[in-house]
């Protein structure tokens, strides 16, 4: 086990989560190095999405603590955690369907803006300026994921791959330090997967974000992650560089069963 250090943007100690009698996660000591792309893999039902939900505050942890940028965030609400700099996407795309593409991204900007009720009513120059800046930022994010031309479409009307990218743009609009992607390549064709890998690399290179991604597409995970953690039955059974994971006996057993 690696001791937590300053270079870790997020780390957890002995993190666990139970649902009634069921242990969904136990003894998770996750370390995410700043500025890296980290993969999180494991068979279905291993607890990957549950881990995301615990990290982002949707489920409070049953045991252990979560530290983000050296600050404990274990029992914070999701919206607080987002404002501290963690943003996520969802496995089963959750866009605001009857809002425009641009408005979806502007929602991501919500926690970086401040205008309130009085501001909405009176719209003095500072308020208008804030809105203009938010719009500009949102448009930048849209052009980053190549959706600028669709800004006035309704989110519901986008193609599947575009919706995935819109979710990423929405998350990026909150200017997170750590981006959690839940199966971004799910349902994509090979070409789209390749484009997505490029996009994720650019998020790291150009925007200097740290990325943690859950992915079943091994080509994607192995291709872009510098470090991979493997979950099975709620436990972290291995972690290491992609080539180590590829040959790890525990991991092979988890995926293929004991008989393999």
């Amino acid at each position: 086990m690696v001791e937590p250090a300053k270079k870790h943007i997020l780390y957890t100690n002995n993190l666990g989560r139970n649902f009634g009698g069921l242990t969904a996660l136990a003894n998770i000591d996750l370390r995410i190095k700043q500025g890296t792309i980290m993969g999180l893999i494991g068979p279905n039902g291993a607890g990957k999405t549950t881990l995301f939900n615990v990290l982002t505050g949707h489920y409070p942890p049953s045991t252990g603590q979560i530290y983000f940028k050296s600050e404990e965030i274990s029992n914070q609400k999701p919206y607080v955690i987002t404002s501290k700099g963690i943003a996520r996407t969802f496995q089963n795309i959750r866009l605001f369907n009857q809002m425009s593409v641009l408005d979806n991204v502007l929602i991501g900007r919500h926690c970086r803006t401040a205008s309130g009720l009085i501001g909405a009513l009176l719209r003095w120059p500072a308020i208008k300026q804030e809105e203009e800046q938010a719009r500009k930022y949102a448009l930048d994010m849209l052009s980053f994921v190549n959706l600028e031309e669709k800004k006035n479409e309704w989110a519901a009307n986008l193609a599947y791959g575009e919706q995935r990218r819109l979710e990423i743009a929405r998350a990026l609009a909150s200017d997170p330090d750590l981006l959690l992607l839940d199966e971004p390549a799910a349902g994509m064709n090979p070409q789209e997967s390749v484009d997505l890998m490029t996009l994720i690399s650019r998020i790291r290179e150009e925007m200097k974000k740290t990325v943690l991604l859950i992915e079943h597409d091994m080509k994607v995970v192995m291709g872009i992650s510098e470090w991979i953690a493997v979950l099975d039955y709620g436990q972290m059974i291995a972690e290491g560089e992609p080539h180590e994971i590829r040959h790890n006996k525990e991991v092979i057993r988890a995926y293929l069963g004991d008989t393999a």
Partner: protein, 290 residues
């Protein structure tokens, strides 16, 4: 005096419990507040009344017929107002439910007029004295029939194959349907059973309070729902417990605090539960899927 009030509370509460069961069963299966349930209760009372007074049918038979017709109405409401919206948003389904409730109560008002009807007492007005309280024959009937219906329901849900399918559907509709359960049929049966209990409660309240009006479903309907929430919505024993407790709270509130605020007791209780224990007394906290 206190024991007498307690007893009155239990009797009133047993009718709330019957209404609450209908809410809780439907909510357990399709997660919808069946607002029209109070109107099924009103309908049951009217059917019972008309059968007894106009057709001169023996009370017991009228009671069963009211349950059967109530169940038919419940299934019809489900078919017309809820089934088409099963894939729509929750908001749409709720609005449709409110509309169905409003439609039925005002239709009854249109047909029957706003004058209250009085329910003839089907039994001789006999009163039994015990050392602690007095109880009439009607009250014993109400209490006993509620008890029998609740036991029958528990048996049905726990021991029969359909009951098992109902519980499976409540847990997970998709998996249940993959296991070969016909979800539409189970939902229909749930409405049928829940509505039969609601109609039964209507008849019982008819003979207990002796008056029947088209708008009588509104208040008890709301209170039945409060009882279901109090016990933990979706939870069958919870609905029974919630009903009895609500009945006691209301009678005690009226007796010892103020009778004018009798109807406010239930709602104050509701807001208190929602504040401190939204999952209800016997319910488990809902874990929302992300």
């Amino acid at each position: 005096m206190f024991v007498q009030q307690l007893m009155n509370g239990v009797i009133l509460g047993s009718t709330y419990a019957l209404i609450a069961l209908g809410y809780t069963m439907v909510y357990g299966i399709i997660e919808l507040i069946n607002f029209a349930h109070g109107e099924i209760y009103m309908f049951g009372a009217f059917v019972g009344l008309l059968l007894v007074t106009v057709l001169d049918i023996p009370f017991f038979l009228a009671f069963l017929l009211a349950m059967a017709l109530g169940s038919l109405l419940g299934v019809t409401v489900e078919y017309l107002a809820y089934r088409p919206l099963r894939r729509s948003s929750r908001l749409s389904a709720l609005i449709s439910a409110i509309g169905a409730s409003f439609f039925l109560s005002n239709l009854a008002l249109l047909i029957m007029g706003s004058q209250p009807f009085s329910f003839p007492n089907p039994f001789e007005a006999k009163i039994y004295h015990t050392p602690l309280f007095i109880i009439s024959r009607v009250e014993i009937t109400v209490l006993l029939s509620s008890l029998i219906l609740m036991i029958a329901l528990t048996f049905f849900v726990q021991r029969t194959k359909i009951g098992k399918a109902m519980r499976a559907t409540a847990q997970d509709k998709d998996t249940a349907s993959l296991m070969g359960i016909n979800i539409d049929r189970i939902i229909t049966i749930t409405f049928a059973v829940g509505s039969a209990l609601g109609a039964a409660a209507g008849v019982m309240v008819g003979i207990y309070f002796r008056t029947v009006t088209p708008t009588m479903g509104f208040m008890p309907g709301l209170k039945g729902f409060v009882a279901a929430v109090l016990g933990g919505i979706g939870n069958i024993p919870g609905a029974m417990l919630g009903g009895i407790l609500l009945g006691i709270a209301e009678v005690m509130g009226a007796a010892y605090i103020s009778s004018q605020y009798r109807d406010a007791v239930a709602f104050a209780l509701l807001i208190i539960i929602l504040l401190f224990k939204p999952a209800g007394l016997l319910g488990r906290p809902a874990q929302e899927k992300v």
